[in-house]
């Protein structure tokens, strides 16, 4: 029998983490995502699956705990919200540089600075363009429902280990705080230490007699060698772009106009599509599920069909740059957003579409 529960997005992340065999969670409280650690601490998974849950002294510490745990081949994750994720950027670039798989959840709130605790999508650049130093990419998943919050934990770990790369679940206060029905998966046991030796032979598990020592590092003082490291990383990112694009199309088949939106904005835009169609405007919605890799080809193909595209985000206009790159000048692309914690209404989106694209 399937187990249906009504839970918050944040709670779903925690439940899914326990169920998919995560080894360790390290975090620091910040609104609007504190329910993730609160749920884990209340569930006491160390008594059932053996999962370690630790409240660190800061986001700086928690992301570096991920480095330590991931370096041992363990499935480790953290979660935070925008200001905390800014603090993690150092650790994230080291994780990317050392090619360590792990999962970071950002339940985004409005910025800049301390900003607001209300939902926003203004961390897009930080997430997909590399928020820390150096040439690196994260695998970025954007859930738009509580069910996807649960499902993407396992997906993020699968992708992170497949490519030895940190994966980010880019959510926001709406998805984190709202409750919906969610179907939870059966428990998957955590990997044993013996399984980890096979799955991740590079991990620092203690230098066995059968192998040389393993060293996890992002340091290479020799420029020519460091360039090789970068070549390898770039080749990996190309591979990810080739294999892992995920997106969802809603009423695109006959669309004259296209909305592009991810996460909670995509939910709002779905309603906008319905409203617009009630008024006789044929609008479709493309929802990127992966923000890196971005659905470039899918958007480019739709640009041949539609007369104009509106990128809708709870930001001042970040993802719109990627939409424009994908469209490559074929049709008009404009941005509409509310930001700083404000949420656009479905009606506002339709108005913006009329003004900026249809009338413009």
């Amino acid at each position: 029998m399937r187990e249906l529960k009504l839970m918050k997005g944040n709670e779903a992340i925690a439940e899914a983490a326990i169920r998919c065999g995560v080894d360790g969670y390290f975090g620091y409280p910040i609104t609007p995502q504190s329910e993730i650690m609160e749920t884990l601490m209340a569930e006491k998974p160390w008594e059932t699956t053996g999962m370690v849950v630790l409240q660190a002294e800061s986001e700086v510490a928690s992301i570096n705990m991920l480095y330590g745990g991931a370096g041992c081949g363990k499935r480790v994750m953290t979660s935070s919200s925008s200001p905390g994720v800014s603090l993690m950027q150092e650790g994230i670039t080291y994780l990317a540089g050392a090619e360590l798989p792990c999962v970071v959840v950002n339940v985004v709130r409005g910025g800049p600075g301390l900003g607001t605790i209300q939902p926003a999508q203004s961390d897009y650049f930080q997430s997909v363009k590399g928020g820390g130093h150096g040439d690196y990419k994260l695998i970025v998943l954007a859930p738009n429902s509580v069910q996807e919050m649960a499902d993407f934990v396992e997906l993020a770990f699968d992708l992170a280990f497949k490519y030895k790369n940190p994966a980010l679940i880019l959510s926001d206060g709406v998805i984190g705080q709202m409750m919906e029905k969610v179907e939870l998966k059966e428990y998957t046991p955590r990997w044993t230490n013996e399984e980890i030796e096979k799955i991740s032979p590079w991990a620092t598990t203690g230098k066995g007699a059968h192998r040389g020592r393993n060293v996890i590092t992002s340091l290479e003082l020799e420029a020519s060698e460091q360039e090789k490291v970068n070549h390898r990383l770039q080749a990996k990112y190309k591979e990810i772009e080739k294999n892992e694009v995920r997106c969802e199309k809603f009423m695109c088949d006959d669309a004259d106009y296209l909305l592009v939106a991810y996460g909670s904005s995509a939910r709002i835009c779905q309603k906008s599509v319905e409203l617009a169609r009630e008024n006789g405007i044929k609008v479709g919605l493309l929802r990127p599920i992966t923000l890196f890799p971005y659905p470039v080809n899918e958007i480019n193909a739709l640009a041949d069909q539609v007369k104009g595209i509106l990128s809708v985000e709870m930001s001042a206009g970040q993802m719109v740059e990627d939409v424009r790159l994908a469209v490559n000048g074929k049709v008009k692309v404009e941005h509409f957003g509310r930001y700083g914690g404000a949420i656009p209404s479905p009606g506002e989106v339709v108005e913006a579409l009329k003004q900026k694209i249809i009338g413009g």
Binding site: V52, A61, T204, G206, V215
Partner: protein, 255 residues
């Protein structure tokens, strides 16, 4: 000559050998530097305890950033100051392993102060080896949190001015106050006797980890001939006269 040598080089005549846990890589440290000695001692302790296959080291940022080149064990290289956070997770996820961090004064007592204090306060069951030479060696001799008052460095060329720079921090004394720390000691490696004592302290720290006795902190007051602009012999003498006066050797805590 070769015949004479072959006559001498026999196992039964050997009185000193390189630890199996040390690699054959040539150390990048300056002449007179204490790092090499401490590396050797850790290698010997690991070998003698037979824990080479169970030990995971965490290297810092600083002169010993490349420590992982010299000990034949699994290593992780941390971001600056974050070694205690890495070690925390490694030990919690692999409690069956011996875990130690190796950190300099900038790493442990400046940029990583929060990670250091909280790892110790949680009583993470790890060994922290703390090399305190009162200067930033790798970046070219700048002031460290442990630079003595009046001591010259690249960023305090006229000497540390405590009204501007604050006082040198006795972090080991501070950490000894925390209930999470078990064995806290300050040692040096400037004489054969001191080397033997430091090795004993390291051995005790690793043994204590086996007994889950909380965070074990071994500070080694060290020289930096290059940063101090002294010969190795002068540096040892300067350390004895100045560093030991402010950072006295001995056990601070043994619980």
């Amino acid at each position: 000559m070769a015949e004479v040598l072959n006559d001498i080089i026999k196992p039964e005549n050997q009185i000193y050998g390189k630890s199996e846990v040390l690699t054959d890589n040539v150390l990048h440290y300056c002449p007179g530097c204490s790092h090499g000695v401490v590396h050797k001692l850790i290698a010997e302790v690991i070998e003698e305890m037979g824990i080479q296959e169970q030990t995971i080291g965490v290297a810092p940022v600083g002169c010993s950033v490349l420590a992982y080149n010299y000990l034949e064990i699994d290593w992780q290289e941390a971001a600056h100051g974050r070694a205690p956070a890495l070690a925390t997770a490694i030990k919690r996820l692999r409690p069956d392993r011996f875990v130690f961090s190796y950190q300099g004064d900038g790493d442990l007592a400046a940029i990583g102060t929060a990670e250091t204090i909280h790892a110790c306060n949680r009583g993470e069951n790890i060994v922290m080896v703390f090399i305190n030479n009162g200067i930033y060696g790798m970046t070219g001799g700048q002031m460290a949190p442990t630079t003595l008052e009046g001591m010259k460095a690249a960023t305090c060329p006229y000497g540390r001015d405590v009204s501007r720079d604050g006082h040198p921090i006795k972090i080991t004394e501070l950490l000894a106050q925390l209930p999470g720390t078990g064995y806290v000691t300050r040692q040096a490696v400037h004489t054969p006797a001191a080397v033997r004592k430091t090795k004993k302290a390291l051995r005790k720290a690793f043994e204590n980890q086996k007994l889950n006795k909380g965070t074990q902190l071994i500070e080694v007051v060290s020289t930096c001939s290059s940063g101090w602009k002294l010969t190795p012999v002068q540096a040892n003498k300067w350390m004895e006269e100045n560093m030991f006066a402010f950072y006295p050797l001995g056990d601070l805590k043994d619980e």
